[in-house]
Symmetry: C2
Subunit: 258 residues, 2 copies
DNA sequence: TGCGGCGCGATTGTATGCAATCCGCGTCGA
DNA sequence: TCGACGCGGATTGCATACAATCGCGCCGCA
């Protein structure tokens, strides 16, 4: 239930802990991160800390220079819009694939047990989110929002897209930390519609709804920093929807799932 | 000149070496990678090897299970088209930003020295590529192609987009390794046009050309596996070009470039 | 007073050693 | 004959120890 069920191995815990501190602003960009201090704080030796720092570096949250050390990277503020643009393409793909998998394409005769488990979690998530909306608990909504999108990526069955999305959505969450703007509850109901389209196996609808949804959040974000006319300009443009060929070609790959 | 000039630190070397072996097919998906064997082969201890494996895991080329070990991940064949779709959005952004930087936007008064150095490298690259086309040296062309796109990402000045692109383009190269299809030299001349648009600071043209270029390579790839009518369908659709708000808002962030 | 070189403390990079865990195989029992 | 149990080798996970490197402040010198 806590995001990743198989967590427990120290380096992974460290990565999650540090990334969280970075994303939510506890660790200000530019802050020096010494291996020893992290090791002490978490009661481990420097070896797992080093591994964690390497992973965070690969994800772009930390910059390291050899023989000198690691610092918290700069928040990619001026890349915000581009990140949203990429996310749009990415999530359209995950939504589409999730719907296709619901129809039992992609080589599998029908969605595997794993798919259904994630699907159930998402259902629960939606209810929790509705509750949070009622209660006005925006912090919780932020977290649920993130988990919803990651969940859809898991439904898509694509490890690659999932990895990319996780990186992207963490970056975007980081951007939100720049000020106290909290993502509105306005967009929450979209999620239920998206999940319905996935359930129905309607990949076109899933893709379109997700595209629209991400696009709206992009507009919402940009509205804080960009001149109004530019935002209006973006809003006027019809949703992108890059056509993707549904590819029921190759069955499941051979080597990974052990 | 060899891809990354400041390389030399062992873990980075290991990451590059292993990733290369994976991408070019020397290490077949599913292959077990034991830390000790890698350590012996490279004459180091297991510690840097572990760090390298973590990084590769974060990039998605390796899957590790705790207490068991690491294996080469499965090639994401059935995600090919989605990867191309994401790459399209990504590279449109990098091309656009590169052109904007050429115009001296983004807070900087004019392109910094670093920009010009990369720009010069790209110029050289184009000439080398023309040569390779003449000589029919397709292997070399593949490498140059990769370096061109990564170079444009560097011109864009965006570490985040650069990281994402590197991951994506490695994955896509991995896909190409699936068979002996070699990326045609037909698309090589596009690069010169793209670079010209960047030089001119024409961000709209740069974005459009890059979008078209990536799209063409996507079509070329898919033509090998997909039914002809689907490919024709994709080809008929006009280039996406998700509108991006050029954001000259925030100057350079404070903490990173040391 | 300004500046260049030097040495020390701090930190990173890596090797080694040992405990923990897992997988495969042989043995025992029904 | 078949299945369950248990043991041994192999491998991972981590802590400790030590060498290498860097930044920074101090001192000497012009």
């Amino acid at each position: 239930m806590p995001a990743s069920p198989s967590e427990g191995t120290p380096p992974v815990v460290l990565v999650d802990a540090l990334r969280r501190e970075i994303v939510d602003g506890s660790l200000v960009p530019g802050t020096r991160i010494t291996e020893a201090s992290v090791a002490r704080r978490h009661g481990v030796s420097r070896v797992p800390v080093r591994e964690a720092l390497r992973a965070l570096e690969a994800e772009g949250f930390v910059v390291s220079t050899p023989n000198v050390g690691s610092r918290v990277a700069a928040i990619p503020v001026d890349e915000a819009d581009d990140l949203f643009a990429v996310r749009e393409a990415l999530e359209i793909s995950t939504a589409r694939r999730a719907a296709l998998r619901a129809r039992g394409l992609f080589g599998e005769p029908s969605p595997p047990e794993d798919w259904w488990r994630t699907r159930r979690e998402l259902g629960q998530l939606l209810d929790d989110g509705d509750e949070a909306v009622e209660a006005g608990d925006l912090d919780r909504l932020v977290e649920l929002n993130d988990r919803f999108h990651v969940g859809v990526a898991r439904l898509s069955g694509s490890a690659t897209l999932g990895t990319l999305l996780r990186q992207l959505s963490n970056k975007i969450e980081w951007l939100y930390a720049l000020d106290t703007f909290s993502r509105g509850k306005r967009l929450w109901p979209d999620h239920r519609r998206i999940l319905s389209a996935i359930d129905a196996g309607d990949e076109a609808a899933a893709a379109e709804l997700m595209g629209w949804h991400v696009r709206e959040s992009r507009i919402g974000f940009l509205a804080r920093t960009e001149p109004a006319d530019r935002v209006a300009d973006l809003r006027a443009t019809p949703p992108a929807l890059p056509p993707t060929i549904p590819s029921p070609t190759v069955p499941a790959p051979s080597a990974s799932s052990t």
